[in-house]
Amino acid sequence: MNRIVRALVHNGLLWGLALVVLTPLAWTVKASFLPAGSAMTIAAPADEAPRDAVGFTLDNYRQLFSRLNLGRYFANSVLVSTAITAISLALNSMAGYAFAKLRFRGRDGLFKCLLAALVVPLQAAMLPLFLMLKQLGVINTYWAVIIPSMATIYGIFLVRQYALSIPDSLLDAARVDGAGEGRIFWTVVLPLLKPVLATLGVFTFLAAWNDFMWPLVVLTGNDAQTLPVALAILSGEHVQDVELMMAGSVVTVLPALFLFAILQRQLIGGIMMGSVKG
């Protein structure tokens, strides 16, 4: 009996906490469907008569896409994040595999240098990087966001840790059969790397989708801006339009949450794996 009560209290507490954790997200969704000017009165003091507190409208979303051109920024974000994910998966998986399984002079020293560089904060590189990309003439284009993310130390590291478990005998057998290194990578290694590539893929896409500071720096013009940058700028201009901004937040967050919902096993599993091994 005592045990049942304890189980009830314990699980009740957990679900209560879950509710608290979800409240900000739930509030965002709710406010996004409310008529302009009514979201904040819901939470107003009780003695104040609520104005049009109830109501459901798609007006905020309509405005976002017609007047504020959010569709464009959405497409930009999709394009940039997809490009970063595709390119970096290719480059990181090749390098990670090589660091794990191919012998070449200087390999281990090089890898140690890379690991040490993991502590360098990204911001330390931003100012010179901006000048470099300006020289290349890519500021205000998608490339300014894509280029620096085309390969990452963390991605190389993650693939390498996983690739270490590929048996050498498998690779040697392919070599004995006369397969070239490129073909071995394509036909033998890549299929084996699928799980870690799924993990790294979600990881990379989410990071690119949510990234703010670097896109803010290099996308000053309107045309190539990603969703977070556009949203931050809009939120400065529309502080009073709570419901409109919440609709913008929903549009920005929803794809990330959706991706997480279908690939949560890969994402959470990958983090657990990376941390225990590393």
Partner: protein, 318 residues
């Protein structure tokens, strides 16, 4: 394959099979060709710029140099003088103080919350562990800018949900983002909400790798749940804590989007962070030399803090 070729009879470690080291292209081993593209990107667009910021920090690179490089001059350590003791020093030390407050209060708080949630989830009584884990992790994958905008409204002094909740407990409303004393704690609270799930998952992995025998042995010795936690769980999580501590600290030093979106560094500069200072100096006022000095300081502090924490934890483990 129908017939056995002579190659298949060869021992597995034949010369051709020596892990691809023999087939050189243009005199380079395949390993080089596989790593070259990624290494080129990382070197060219991360390592070189990171080092170049040291060079930039001893120049007066500004909007004139941006227009014409001939305007660029070497100024020695003048940028560092300006931010450490000179004209910019007040804002710099304020930003450093705020950032340190965020790191050394917000960081441990967030790890503690992660640990609490991990312990709750890991308890034997817990049902639907997987679903709960997904819920607690959800804020991690949300877009920081978007949730910062949401929290700005949650913190609204009159209509915000936060004060509404306080009021139902009979607590006076707080001017969260408008009061210099409350703005940084408010940002910390949001950051904890946003981030705790990440470390929670890592700590869960650490807990699951603790062998059951350790707990059983402790139970046989008559240890209650509290002592099992203190003498088995915590020590066994040592390496995990080192990892979580260092990564959290490095991440928290980079505070930017929250103040940029929620407060613009205000009120009274109480949420002005180092990275915000770097951004404004560099990309708003185009004083890239001075901004690089801030970046170098940030770099140095991050290094010292990371190694300091690792050393501390190593000593504690010994």
């Amino acid at each position: 394959m129908a017939q056995t070729s002579p190659q298949q009879l060869a021992p597995p470690r034949s010369r051709a099979a020596r892990r691809g080291s023999s087939r050189r292209v243009l005199g380079l081993a395949p390993g080089w060709w596989f790593t070259a593209p990624a290494l080129a990107i990382v070197t060219l667009f991360f390592l070189v710029p990171a080092l170049a910021s040291f060079v930039l920090s001893v120049t007066d690179f500004d909007i004139y140099a941006l227009a014409d490089l001939r305007n660029l001059r070497f100024v020695g350590l003048d940028n560092f003088r300006r931010i450490l003791v000179g004209e910019q020093s007040e804002l710099f030390w304020t930003a450093l103080g705020n950032t340190c407050f965020f790191v050394f209060v917000g960081g441990p708080l967030s790890v503690a919350v992660s640990l609490g949630f991990a312990l709750l989830l890991e308890a034997k009584l817990t049902r639907y562990k997987g679903a709960l884990r997904v819920v607690f992790f959800a804020p991690v994958v949300t877009t920081l800018v978007a949730v910062s905008i949401t929290w700005r409204y949650l913190y609204d002094v009159r209509g915000g949900l936060m004060n509404h909740a306080l009021e139902s407990f009979g607590i006076e409303p707080v001017n969260w983002l408008g009061d210099p004393h409350w703005a940084m704690p408010a940002i910390i609270l949001m950051a904890v909400w946003k981030n705790f799930g990440y470390n929670m998952v890592i700590l869960l992995a650490g807990m699951q790798s603790i062998p059951d025998e350790l707990y059983e042995a402790a139970s046989l010795d008559g240890a209650g749940s509290w002592r099992r936690f203190w003498h088995v769980t915590l020590p066994a999580l040592g390496p995990t804590f080192a990892f979580v501590g260092v990564t959290t600290m490095i991440g928290y030093f980079q505070l930017f989007a929250e103040p940029y979106v929620m407060t613009r560094g205000g009120p009274e500069n109480s949420t002005y962070s180092l990275v915000l200072l770097m951004y404004e100096e560099g990309f708003r006022w185009w004083r890239l030399g001075a901004a690089s000095a801030v970046a170098v300081v940030l770099f140095a502090i991050t290094l010292v803090a990371a190694f300091g924490q690792l050393a501390l934890q190593r000593r504690a483990a010994a």
